[in-house]
């Protein structure tokens, strides 16, 4: 596949690893923000190819993982209604709420549909005027424009049976929260490639400057990740703290102005609770008043539910880059993709899920396999 296969070549990967090895004179701790980047690193075993001193810590860039428990519980309650067709991306189906998940609700008769595109939900609403069709609008800034257009089309089309349960999240406030944390170890970031395809990267310039931390906007293939890391190491070694763009084939500084515009029209910033992390101010998007009629949160009144997390789950520290999945006592034992205790084990881009799929019980059993 063009623009994918070329970026997976082992020879190029080797070359970039050599360059990193040659230029890193000390240990550095860097964070890749996106779940998709974490997934690629673990899937291709890239971190094991790096020199010992370079540590990659995994960031909170998995929107499925950070959807607040209260939102999930609300989603489950709405999906359970007999006249609701609940539309969600596949990833959300197995994420555990306080008591259940969408897949189990589906098994018990709820009308839960997996959609590939928010437009699928709009089509369903048009085709089934007697059903309430709810779009579970989650995702980072990459997905927000797609929800925005779907919502606008539904409004324009007079689809009174369509509504959206919105839980979009924003990356820059999360990065700021990580950098502000007193126990932060992250010295540089591989920035979110597809988020910046939409948003551009001007917001990151202020962060880099304020915290004197370099940020390299990076793609998702092995060559992208290693080239991004090389740029980051070079900045760190020369004590620079700038925003660089590795993912130039897909990202321009101003992003996609049309997409940004529509997001502005439909959504506004709000405080958002990030599951496992806590509330980050102005880190979420919600529907503007002009779209209040399509807000599922207002349309479906939900009883206050006691939301509770299992005590043993360390998703929060994993999402903040403080601990690795294999350090969790429940990893691979009580907590598996089939019986997840936290969202990071369920989401296909969650760090715990990636480790479970590609690494399993800690590094020791694999140590010999990987060094062989």
């Amino acid at each position: 596949m063009k623009y994918i296969a070329e970026y997976r070549q082992a020879s190029l990967v080797e070359r970039l690893v050599e360059l990193i090895r040659a230029e890193a004179t000390q240990s550095w701790t860097v964070m890749e923000v996106c779940g998709g980047q974490t997934h690629a690193i673990v899937r291709y075993g890239l971190d094991h190819l790096l020199p010992e001193g370079i540590e990659l810590v995994h960031g909170p860039g998995c929107p499925v993982c950070v959807t607040p428990l209260e939102t999930l519980d609300r989603a489950h309650a709405i999906a359970a209604l007999p006249n609701v067709t609940f539309c969600s991306f596949g990833d959300m189906l197995r994420v555990p709420g306080s008591r259940t998940d969408l897949l189990q609700l589906k098994a018990r008769g709820a009308d839960v549909r997996i959609i590939y595109s928010p437009l699928d939900a709009v089509k369903l609403a048009a085709a089934q005027p007697d059903r309430e069709v709810v779009l579970f609008a989650i995702g980072f800034e990459t997905t927000a424009p797609t929800s925005a257009l779907a919502i606008q089309l539904a409004q324009r089309g007079g689809l009174r049976n369509f509504s959206a349960l919105v839980s979009h999240v924003l990356v820059p406030p999360a990065m700021t929260a990580i950098l502000e944390s007193p126990d932060n170890r992250v010295q540089g970031f591989l920035g979110p490639g597809h988020v910046c395809t939409v948003m551009g990267y001007t917001e990151y310039e202020a962060i880099a400057k304020r915290f004197q931390t370099p940020i390299v906007i990076t793609g998702f293939e092995p060559v992208d990740l290693l080239e991004g890391l090389l740029c980051l190491v070079r900045q760190l070694e020369s004590r620079r703290a700038e925003v660089e763009n590795q993912y130039r084939r897909a990202v321009q500084r101003e992003g996609n102005p049309r997409a940004r515009q529509l997001v502005e029209t439909v959504f506004e910033a709000c405080d958002r609770a990030w599951r496992g992390v806590g509330t980050i101010p102005r880190s979420g998007l919600r529907l503007r008043e002009s779209y209040a009629e399509l807000d599922a949160e207002r349309r479906f009144k939900v009883e206050r539910m006691a939301s509770s997390e299992p005590a043993v789950c360390i998703s929060g520290s994993v999402l903040r880059g403080q601990r690795k999945p294999c350090e969790c006592p429940a990893f691979g034992r009580e907590c598996t993709p089939e019986t997840p205790l936290g969202a990071t084990m369920v989401s296909s881009e969650g760090a715990c899920a990636a480790y479970y799929a590609y690494r399993r019980e800690g590094q020791t059993t694999l140590g010999q396999a990987f060094r062989a």
């Binding site: 359970a80 209604l81 990833d91 259940t100 998940d101 098994a107 590939y116 995702g139 396999a369």
Partner: protein, 361 residues
């Protein structure tokens, strides 16, 4: 408008909230051929039906006959149910699939397939013309395989209680004297071969279900493998075992092998034969091709000295033209399958977790 959700939600939860770390109901993932399927078999079926033949979990049961069978050591017996949706797909249909699938389960055990039975569960409302097409297809498939369908049954269920048609086939074959293939027999040093491109069937099905369109038609690879296995075993009677990677894909077959033989397995991503359009479809749907079913391919484990010769023999056969050596059995990390990725770093190949939900975001 506002709606109260309390009552419906509790109703769906049941009278007491589910401990959400365990399932009380069958979910789709139990049928995916991955981790959940394995657990269902191990924790629910085997304990109730305990016997060593079933517990061996080979693709077919290798049976001694009281009094012996002349000219052959053992009887092979297998059964499989086919619930594929849609019943007609590019490259085949549920009928021919049901024949090929059971023939293959027998063939990979070294058996010559002889007789099949078929039980049909038909949904009220199924078009007779469609049933005709399916049964005609089965007839042709049986003739091509040299098997005879000797027993059959049909039942009809109410509309909405069955997905047009479900077919269960059982098959009997004969395993020649001296052959005793088993997934418990792999040894460090053995080579792993596959007979061709992976994931064709699963992607062909998904493409119809998800409305994926292809530039060039992507057909299921559903095919009978008994002739290929015959030539392979004639050339190389020391083959340890063979498996057909159906649901759960090659990952399930490799993991089952590693666990049964208490060995490690190492494979190389760049040696895996995959059609470009299948690769692209998996990329788009966020699927791992190692978890996607094939229905006309097999995996073989063979002593290292025989590998090259076996590869040549396979490549000469019409169903094995794209055969490849994909890895080896090792003593390290027993029970675990490790893959060297395209980029050079390594990862584990685990069984599919749950149902394969397309990755989006």
């Amino acid at each position: 408008m506002t709606m109260s959700v309390g009552r419906s939600f509790s109703a769906l939860l049941g009278s007491c909230p589910l401990p959400w770390s365990r399932y009380e109901h069958i979910v789709l993932g139990h049928g995916s051929g991955g981790q959940l399927t394995a657990e269902l078999i191990e924790r629910l079926f085997l304990p109730e039906l305990a016997n060593p033949l079933l517990a061996a979990q080979e693709d077919q049961a290798n049976l001694a006959w009281p009094g012996g069978l002349s000219g052959a050591a053992r009887l092979a017996f297998s059964t499989d149910a086919y619930v594929v949706r849609p019943p007609f797909f590019p490259g085949g249909d549920i009928g021919s699939l049901a024949v090929h699938g059971t023939v293959n389960d027998l063939a990979v055990g070294g058996a010559r397939p002889l007789y099949l039975s078929a039980a049909f569960i038909l949904e009220e409302g199924l078009l007779l013309a469609d049933l005709q097409r399916i049964v005609a297809s089965m007839g042709r498939a049986c003739a091509a395989c040299g098997v005879t369908l000797v027993a059959a049954d049909t039942k009809v269920v109410d509309r909405g209680k069955g997905d047009q048609v479900y077919i269960t086939t059982s098959g009997i074959g004969l395993i020649p004297d001296g052959l005793n293939l088993s997934i418990h027999k792999a040894q460090p040093g053995d080579k792993l071969l596959v007979s061709g491109t992976l994931g064709d069937h699963g992607v062909a099905i998904l493409s119809v279900r998800e409305g994926l369109e292809f530039e060039a038609a992507l057909d299921s690879d559903s095919a009978p493998l008994h002739d290929l296995t015959r030539v392979m075993l004639e050339a190389c009677p020391t083959i340890r075992c063979m498996r057909d990677p159906t649901r759960g894909g090659l990952a399930s077959a490799l993991n089952e092998l590693a666990l049964a033989s208490h060995v490690g397995i190492q494979i190389r991503e760049r040696t895996l034969p995959v059609r470009p359009a299948v690769r692209a479809a998996c990329e788009m749907l966020g699927l791992d091709v190692l978890h996607v079913a094939s229905e006309g391919k097999l995996m073989a484990v063979v002593p290292p000295a025989e590998a090259d010769r076996l590869l040549d023999v396979m490549r000469c056969h019409p169903l094995g033209r794209e055969s490849a050596v994909i890895g080896e059995v090792v003593a390290e990390h027993p029970g675990t399958v490790v893959m060297e990725s395209l980029a050079g770093g390594k990862r584990i190949v685990a069984r599919l977790s749950g149902e394969q939900l397309p990755r989006i975001c």
